[in-house]
C-alpha cells in the first residue's frame, strides 16, 4: 500500500514518526506552512521557517525514504497580526522554488477583514505562480466559513478546481463538493474527523477528488491516521483501487497541478544515506559507513 499524506506538519514530528510512517506505507508528504503554537513576531521568523521547509525537512524526510514537498503562505491566524503581514511581500520569491507545490494554508480563522485581505492576496499569488491553493476551513463557525471561503475563491483569479478545501466534515462536504473544489479531510484522535466517519463520508459522496490527511502537528494528533483510514476502508468493502485513489492518486493529481511534484525519492536518497540524523546506528544493525555520532 502506498500512501501520500497531503497535509502533515513534519517539522513538529520526530524521526520515530518518519520511521513508523514509512513502515505504514507513507512514501510522500506535503507540509503546509502554518502557525507554530507560539505566535511569531516578525517576518524573519517566517523566512527561517520557509527555508527549513525547503531545506532541512525534505532532507530529513529523504533519510526515511519519503518525498517531502511544501506549501507556503501567511497562515490565517497570523494574518491578523500586523507584525507578520509584511511576509506577504517576501512570498513571491519563495513561490518560485522547486519544492513548493501550492500556496497554503490560507483561509479563515476568525473571519476578520485582515483575513479577507490575506486570503484574496494569496489566491492571486497562487494564480500568478501557476500554483493550486490549500485552503483551510475554520474550526469555529465552519459552515459560514466555508461559504465565505468559496465566495472569495469564486471572485479570485484562481479556478475553483485548483483549490483544495481542507478540514471538511459532514456539515460542509456537500457544499464543498458542489463547488467543484478538491475535498480534504483531516483525521484526528479527538477532533475534526475520525476513521469511521471518514469511511461513511466516502460511502455517501464517493472517492472523487477526496484527499485524507493526518494534519499531524505539535498537538494531539497521529501521523498514522492515513493508514488507519485505508485499513478501515478495506475492512468496510472498499477496493484496493479505491484506497489507492484516495490515499495516493488524488493527492498526486491535486499537487501535480503545480507541475513541480517529484515523487522519485530514490533519485535523491542515495545521496542522503550517510546522514546526520541517525546519531549512530544501533549496534545490532548494519551501520552506515562512518556511523554518525551526535552532531546536534
Amino acid at each position: 500500500m502506498r500512501i501520500f499524506d497531503p497535509h502533515i506538519h513534519m517539522t513538529s514530528r520526530t524521526t520515530d514518526d518518519y520511521e513508523a510512517m514509512y513502515a505504514a506505507g507513507v512514501r510522500a508528504v506535503v507540509e503546509p506552512s502554518f502557525w507554530l503554537g507560539q505566535p511569531r513576531t516578525s517576518p524573519a521568523s517566517f523566512l527561517d521557517y520557509f527555508d527549513a521547509l525547503l531545506g532541512w525537512e525534505p532532507f530529513r524526510a529523504a533519510q526515511y525514504g519519503i518525498a517531502h514537498h511544501c506549501t507556503l503562505a501567511l497562515n490565517p491566524k497570523e494574518a491578523n497580526d500586523p507584525r507578520c503581514t509584511p511576509v506577504l511581500d517576501a512570498l513571491p520569491r519563495y513561490l518560485v522554488k522547486d519544492n513548493v507545490v501550492a500556496v497554503g494554508e490560507i483561509g479563515y480563522d476568525s473571519m476578520t477583514p485582515a483575513e479577507d485581505t490575506a486570503l484574496a492576496a494569496q489566491l492571486q499569488l497562487a494564480a500568478d505562480h501557476g500554483l493550486p491553493a490549500l485552503v483551510h476551513t475554520p474550526h469555529r463557525d465552519k459552515l459560514a466559513g466555508l461559504r465565505r471561503t468559496l465566495d472569495v475563491v469564486r471572485e479570485s483569479a484562481l479556478p475553483t478546481d485548483r483549490v483544495l478545501v481542507d478540514h471538511l466534515n459532514e456539515t460542509t462536504v456537500k457544499e464543498a463538493k458542489d463547488s467543484g473544489a478538491w475535498l480534504g479531510f483531516s483525521v484526528y484522535p479527538d477532533t475534526k474527523m475520525d476513521e469511521e466517519r471518514m469511511v461513511s463520508i466516502l460511502r455517501a459522496y464517493g472517492p472523487e477528488q477526496v484527499l485524507v490527511n493526518s494534519a499531524a502537528d505539535w498537538g494531539r494528533s497521529d501521523p498514522l491516521k492515513t493508514r488507519k483510514v485505508a485499513d478501515l476502508m478495506l475492512a468496510e468493502g472498499f477496493t484496493e483501487d479505491d484506497v489507492d485513489r484516495v490515499l495516493w492518486r488524488n493527492p498526486v493529481a491535486f499537487y501535480g497541478l503545480s507541475g513541480r511534484l517529484n515523487l522519485d525519492v530514490d533519485a535523491t536518497d542515495a545521496t542522503h544515506e550517510g546522514n546526520s540524523i541517525l546519531r549512530g546506528a544501533p549496534r545490532d544493525e548494519p551501520q552506515p559507513a562512518g556511523a554518525p555520532a551526535t552532531e546536534a
Partner: protein, 246 residues
C-alpha cells in the same frame, strides 16, 4: 523494523554525494563550465535543453540585479523542475556562470536559496570567485549544517584553497562523523600531508569510537595515513593564505 535507507559499512560505500549524479563522473565544481555545458546538453531532452539555452542567454544578456528578482535568479529557482533533479546542479552552476555572479550575488542567492540552490552556489565558487576569500562565509555556513549534501558541496576546491587549518580539520572530522565520503574533500592529500594536529584529532576520534565498541570509519585510516606523509613545501602565495597555525 530495519531502517530503510542505511547502507552497510563497506570500504567502497560512498555515503553521500551531491545530488543524484549524472553518472559520468562530472562534478560541477571540478568541470570547466564549457565542458559542463557540452556534457549537460548531451543528456537533456529537447525541451529541457531549449529551456537551458534560453536561460543561459538571458543570464548572459541581463546579469546583475533587476527588480525584486532578476530573471536569471528565477531561472536558478526553477532549474530543478525544468532539467530534472539529476541535472539541476550542473544547470544552476551554468546559470550562475553565465550571469557572472560575483561574491555579493552569490551570497544573496545562497542565503535566499533552497538547499539545492545553496549546493549549486557552493559548486560554482571555484569557477566564479576562485581567488578571493569573500565567499568563505557561505562555506562556513554550509559546514555548520547537518545536511550532508551541503557539507559535501562545501568541501570543494574553493574550501581547499581558502579554509583555514582549524576549520578545515573540523570539516574533515565532521565528514567522518556524518558519513560524508572523504572523496568529496578536494585536495585532501595535499592539505592533510604532515598535519600532526589533524592526526591527533583523528587518533582521538578513533579511540572514542573504539571505547564505545563502535567501528572506526575506513576513511579515518586513509586520511590518517595521508597525515604521515612528509610535509609539502611550505605554503606559498594564495594557495593557503589562512593555513598558518601559530
Amino acid at each position: 523494523m530495519t531502517r530503510p535507507h542505511v547502507t552497510p559499512a563497506t570500504p567502497e560505500a560512498d555515503t553521500t554525494g551531491g545530488p543524484a549524479t549524472p553518472g559520468d563522473g562530472t562534478t560541477p565544481a571540478l568541470t570547466p563550465p564549457a565542458e559542463l555545458r557540452r556534457r549537460l546538453a548531451d543528456r537533456l531532452g529537447g525541451a529541457a535543453r531549449a529551456w537551458l539555452d534560453q536561460a543561459l542567454d538571458e543570464a548572459a544578456t541581463h546579469p546583475g540585479t533587476h527588480g525584486p528578482i532578476s530573471v536569471w535568479e528565477l531561472r536558478l529557482a526553477e532549474a530543478g523542475r525544468r532539467c530534472g533533479p539529476a541535472h539541476a546542479d550542473a544547470a544552476r552552476v551554468l546559470i550562475l556562470h553565465a550571469a557572472h555572479a560575483d561574491a555579493d550575488a552569490l551570497t544573496r542567492v545562497y542565503f535566499q536559496g533552497t538547499a539545492d540552490e545553496r549546493r549549486a552556489v557552493l559548486h560554482a565558487l571555484p569557477h566564479l570567485v576562485p581567488d578571493g576569500p569573500g565567499a568563505l562565509p557561505l562555506v562556513e555556513d554550509a559546514l555548520r549544517t547537518n545536511d550532508t549534501r551541503l557539507v559535501a558541496a562545501a568541501l570543494g576546491p574553493y574550501a581547499a584553497r581558502h579554509l583555514d587549518a582549524h576549520a578545515w580539520r573540523h570539516a574533515v572530522l565532521k565528514c567522518l562523523f556524518t558519513g560524508v565520503g572523504l572523496d568529496h574533500v578536494a585536495d585532501l592529500a595535499r592539505r592533510a600531508r604532515g598535519d600532526g594536529e589533524l592526526a591527533r584529532m583523528l587518533g582521538d576520534y578513533a579511540a572514542e569510537r573504539t571505547a564505545a565498541g563502535r567501528a572506526v570509519p575506513e576513511d579515518l585510516h586513509r586520511v590518517l595515513a595521508l597525515t604521515e606523509s612528509a610535509p609539502a613545501t611550505p605554503p606559498h602565495g594564495t594557495d593557503d593564505p589562512h593555513g598558518k597555525e601559530s
